[in-house]
Symmetry: C2
Subunit: 311 residues, 2 copies
DNA sequence: ATGAAAGCGCTAACAA
DNA sequence: TTGTTAGCGCTTTCAT
């Protein structure tokens, strides 16, 4: 007990004993056993982080932020990669439960509400990124994609574009739905409507497929708004291959501001989301929900329009 | 005990008892407690994976591979991000030790040999990616960067380039050193020598700085070989800004084949490394070193020249 | 085929 | 200020 007290800074030991204990611990290379601690305390000092696809450059930034905040608070991060598969999402939420994490953060969940809430219920604390949920289910960090989408359309219209088509990303994405609402509302406000809407994977390859389809089905479009930057990059490649100049004939706008966005040429206009902050805030919110049974709930992040060369 | 036996498929229980146990377990939503298991067995069924920078698109692919192989074997992956800081690398190796992982995989370690070996010693099993080490210290998965570098130079020379400069990446990178050896040898074999060598961070920003410096100090170069694709992307941006045509005036070649390499325009010629396989093999090797005290040691991967538009 | 005892390393509760 | 007891949930060993 005295050893335990000393090594945990709980005081109640003479200065001399403390010295001896600390010295011995260091000589023996003592490391407290986290299993014994976990067994005793039923807490793991670990939190789970689920991302849809670590290969999408959006998420490593979020992870970095989460990692920093977690390790600053003495927590470890267990990273799990869903690979854009909602079945696997469900399994991984369960796997993290088996690992006795103290709480989980789920990035852009694709599961429908009922299944998601059911899977999350047994967890002690949950934060959702880019998905709404009632406070009993989870805290939330959401991007205001609707406002972002609105800004995208305003910007294009201001640049004189009128025949705008939409690459809408995955059907199961809730953020995608918000974007669509914003696109439609704002187009309508300008007396316009979308020249075409195509769903696709949130990847460059998905963007290529979608763009090819739109170019074929909706000739004469003069702008493409995309679900994310990867989609935009794919679209860009298709346009270039078809000899369509950007932004001359078609303007292009993405979402996220992934690192490559500004390295492209033409550099991509996009709606920047603060990814690092998102990860940090998610961890902070989760820890606060773990610590106190408090009702802190949601944070909203509004994306910022970054005007580059594609518009 | 009977419960334990049944739930672990160890047999030795009547069919009826097994039934009852399995039923009860599922009704009670029973999940074995990994802390108790870990405490008892002194094994965590977790392996640590250290990467220099998760934000570099090279590593998410490696992580994906490692994740697949690990979860297929019933192991969990604890991911740690070094942020290109060798001090932190040392700390994280220690942190993983405290977490009682069964073994660790270290990607592109930047620590000098002595410090690295010392930090690794207390671990039960280790695999190094892109770094040599004696078998007692670790198993290794290495890329034959020297051969890769050689192919890069041969290709440039074949394309008629003679005034070749090198963006060499971080000084502390061991893979960078092998590349330099290959570059120099092969240049010499063609009766040439490097028109300039500049070290830099392994990022697009690093590539920009390095390229700017080379353009200023070594005018008239007609090709740039880069430590990695990110460096090449940075160099590309600088050339474009300076009105230098690629590959017209300067040819450009990278290493890694990150996903954006082929999405750039002009698309980047590069030496492809099988990243997924690397992660998978690393896990397999580690598990084999954990399981048997066997002497399986090294795997060498030779990068493949992918010719695109920058050369 | 089933179960009792014991101990992995830790710490809360309670002596001394 | 220091120490004893007990128990977290599991599995190895040894009965029954």
């Amino acid at each position: 007990m005295t050893v335990s007290r000393v090594l945990n800074d709980r005081g109640g030991a003479s200065a001399e004993t403390s010295q001896r204990i600390i010295l011995a611990a260091s000589e023996l290379n003592y490391r407290p056993n986290p299993f014994a601690r976990g067994l005793r305390s039923d807490r793991s000092k670990a939190i789970g982080l689920l991302v849809p696809d670590i290969t999408n450059p959006f998420f490593p930034e979020v992870i970095r932020g989460a990692e920093d905040a977690a390790s600053a608070a003495g927590y470890n991060l267990l990273l799990s990669n869903v690979v854009e598969n909602s079945k696997r999402e469900e399994e991984l939420i369960e796997t993290l439960l088996r690992h006795r994490v103290d709480g989980i953060i789920v990035c852009s969940p694709r599961l429908p509400d009922a299944a998601l809430h059911k899977a999350l219920a047994p967890h002690r604390a949950v934060v959702l990124i880019n998905r709404e949920a009632p406070n009993e289910v989870a805290g939330t960090i959401v991007t205001d994609y609707e406002t972002g989408a609105s800004r995208a359309i305003d910007h294009l219209v201001e640049r004189g574009r009128r025949r705008i088509a939409i690459i809408a990303g995955p059907r199961s994405s809730f953020g995608g739905k918000s974007r669509l609402v914003g696109f439609r509302k704002t187009l309508a406000a300008h007396g316009l409507k979308a020249q075409g809407i195509v769903y696709c994977d949130p990847t460059a390859a998905g963007g290529q497929t979608a763009a090819a389809q739109l170019l074929a089905e909706a000739p004469g479009i003069d702008a493409l708004v995309c679900y994310n930057d990867l989609n935009a990059i794919g679209a860009m490649k298709v346009c270039r291959a078809a000899g369509i100049s950007i932004p001359g004939q078609i303007a292009l706008i993405g979402f996220d501001d992934i690192p490559t966005a500004e390295l492209l040429s033409p550099a991509l206009t996009t709606l920047r989301v603060q990814k690092r902050e998102m990860g940090e805030e998610a961890v902070r919110l989760l820890l606060s929900r773990i610590a106190t049974r408090n009702r802190q709930h949601g944070i909203v992040i509004v994306p910022e329009l970054i005007i580059r060369e594609t518009t």
